[in-house]
């Protein structure tokens, strides 16, 4: 174990960038992140109206609607994959657990964290946490607490990788033992806050277009978070395969196809159920007549073009073992989720107002800046910690030891 000074030097050295600084991604993301920082400075020194188009009629805009509501939906991959591996015992997905959990953890930190940027008085966010005032009948209270608890659970799930990076053996063993508990806790929390994000809009009855408003919004949000998260995992998998090729372990490469197709199958089945839920919702709310209106057409674009079509793509991808079809399906699904969440929170919100909410360019820049910042941190971690690459040898040695002990005893 390195001494404190040694640890500090190690951490500092890890801050140095690996690889070229002038990749296309860097050249695009850095100016945007700098611009976002400037805009945020203005936002905090001059108030929200200086940089956003929020109004008394439309209090929630792009930052809440896209960063928080949509971003968290995409982080759903973490709870689904950990559920598959640790609860259902599907070892096939084991090699992607770490990257998915890392992504989920960072997504919550950055996107649920983006919530703070949108608060009028962010320093008061401590109130519902330390108990200055608990509004227990508020869905947002539940969502906020679950975000925090989930971040902790996700971090515990990911921490063995950090321990491996720092070479802390005993810590790693302790943390690995906590994994199942953290996973169970994390999945439970996820079920509740994914649906909770939907429940936030329950009291906006009358303000959200009836095709998107339903008493079942929480269920719809939860079910769609399953395939939202998995689509991102599929899509990101194809990206990391190219970008982080050198860091990926043999195990990862070999099982990649099986993983993508297995996840595609789960997406297809979930989307099948989701479509029926939507049909049921239309009938139950007696809304089928609305499908002929312009908003109805837009609803059909979302459901048919961005749920039904990618579901068919995923189905064919599984049957033909085609990675290309799976990737296309994943991209369309992700667009569909963005569309759905924005339709509920912005497009379908107060749809009869003469002056509609349109985000300012500043809001867009900050949204992008937050996303890029998350990707930067993701990249930093992947390039240093055993996320895609194999764990250090001492981990495997330790794992082998208990097996030997059993055999000796038997």
């Amino acid at each position: 174990m390195k001494g404190a000074a040694g640890l500090w030097r190690f951490l500092l050295s890890e801050l140095k960038p690996k690889g070229s600084l002038f990749t296309p991604f860097n050249l695009v993301s850095v100016p945007i992140m700098i611009a976002a920082a400037v805009i945020l400075y203005i936002r905090f020194t001059h108030g929200l109206s200086a940089v956003t188009n929020l109004s008394q009629e439309v209090p929630w805009g792009l930052w809440k609607g896209l960063n928080v509501v949509t971003g968290v939906a995409f982080a759903g991959g973490a709870y689904v994959v950990t559920f598959l591996v640790y609860v259902l015992g599907q070892k096939r997905y084991h090699s992607i657990v770490r990257i998915t959990v890392l992504n989920g953890f960072l997504a919550y930190v950055f996107y649920a964290g983006a919530l703070l940027l949108d608060l009028g008085r962010p320093w008061k966010v401590i109130n519902p946490i330390i108990g200055n005032s608990f509004g227990v009948s508020s869905v947002l209270f539940l969502v906020a607490w679950h975000f925090m608890l989930y971040m902790m659970a996700a971090f515990v799930e990911f921490s063995p990788a950090v321990a491996e990076w720092l070479g802390l053996r005993r810590l790693r063993r302790t943390l690995a033992a906590l994994t199942l508990g953290a996973v169970v806790f994390g999945v439970t929390l996820s079920m509740l806050h994914q649906s909770g994000l939907g429940a936030l809009f329950l009291m906006a009855k009358g303000k959200i277009h009836p095709l998107w408003y339903s008493e079942f919004i929480p269920l719809h949000f939860f079910v769609s978070s399953v395939f939202a998260g998995l689509s991102l995992v599929i899509f990101e998998g194809t990206l990391s395969r190219r970008v982080f090729r050198s860091r990926m372990s043999e195990e990862h490469h070999a099982h990649h196809d099986d993983i993508v197709l297995g996840l595609s199958k789960i997406c297809a089945a979930t989307m099948f159920a989701y479509l029926f839920l939507k049909v049921l919702d239309l009938v139950h709310g007696q809304k089928t007549g609305l499908l002929g209106t312009p908003m109805g057409h837009w609803y059909l674009v979302e459901i048919v073009g961005f749920v039904l079509v990618p579901m068919a793509l995923f189905t064919e991808a599984v049957r033909w073992r085609s990675l290309w079809l799976a990737k296309t399906g994943a991209i369309l699904t992700m667009l569909g989720i963005v569309l759905n969440r924005l339709n509920v929170s912005i497009v379908g919100f107060r749809w009869t107002e003469p002056v509609r909410y349109v985000p300012t360019p500043y809001e867009v820049v900050v949204t992008l800046g937050v996303i890029f910042a998350e990707i930067w941190v993701l990249r930093w971690v992947i390039n240093r910690m055993p996320v895609l690459s194999e764990s250090p040898a001492w981990v495997r040695e330790e794992a082998a030891q208990p097996a030997i002990a059993e055999r000796v005893a038997a």
Binding site: H253, K265, F276, V318
Partner: protein
């Protein structure tokens, strides 16, 4: 726009119908998703099935070991043994075949011979226990003979097996052999892609062997997996 639902159960009947329809649709969708179409079998899938079943030869004159080797009685306690059609098509033409020396005692299921294919060494198990009394020199000189006629000219060894203890009794025959091959084919079908399927359908064999044609990278692992080797 007012939607007044005076009767809270107005749509209950239709909803039940929808749910029933959904429940009926689920198994159909599931079968379709898993490539087992109940409604309209896809052309390629049907072609693949036709191509694969009955395409790997399984002569009734031999008995089979799950390690993809065959044995057939050659009289006076001797058995002629070799590699089956599935394995030779999967691996393709070997650069070299290594056979045990005369007099070597083989154990059923233990590695008996090895194929060197494109730098990868595949050790394959013997179908029964016994003593090697003959080796096929033709195959040693030209491994392609194995691929050309795995059950005839491509035989590998002759083994003198003891009356009991050889394990010949428990080899797969007839219906059980067909079932076993069907399972191997199913495992292969899961990995099949349309290009290779088309080649097989035309009566050809991918030149480098099926495994390599399916997956250039890691094909040896794929082959080992399909041959259920360690």
């Amino acid at each position: 726009m007012k939607t007044i639902i005076s009767d809270p159960f107005a749509t209950k009947g239709i909803e039940y119908l929808i749910v029933l329809g959904y429940l009926a649709a689920v198994p159909l969708f599931w079968r379709y998703l898993n490539g087992n179409p109940l409604l309209a079998p896809s052309r390629v899938l049907a072609a693949q099935r036709k191509v694969l079943s009955g395409w790997f030869r399984l002569p009734e004159t031999a008995s089979y070991h799950p390690g993809h080797s065959w044995a057939s009685a050659a009289g006076r306690g001797r058995f002629r043994v070799g590699l089956d059609d599935f394995a030779q098509k999967l691996l393709g033409r070997a650069a070299e075949i290594a056979l045990p020396d005369l007099g070597t005692r083989l154990a059923k299921g233990a590695p008996a011979w090895a194929l060197n294919v494109d730098g990868h060494r595949f050790e394959l198990p013997a179908p029964l226990s016994g003593r090697v009394v003959a080796r096929n020199e033709a195959v040693l000189r030209d491994p392609g003979v194995l691929n050309g006629d795995p059950y005839g000219a491509g035989w590998l060894l002759e083994i003198e097996a003891p009356r009991w203890n050889s394990g010949a009794g428990s080899l797969l025959r007839g219906g059980r052999a067909k079932e076993w091959l069907a399972r191997a084919e199913a495992a292969l079908r899961l990995r099949m892609n349309p290009e290779v399927g088309a080649v097989l359908q035309d009566g050809g064999v991918p030149v480098p062997g099926i495994a390599r044609a399916l997956s250039e990278e890691g094909w040896d692992d794929l082959a080992r997996d399909l041959l259920t080797l360690e």
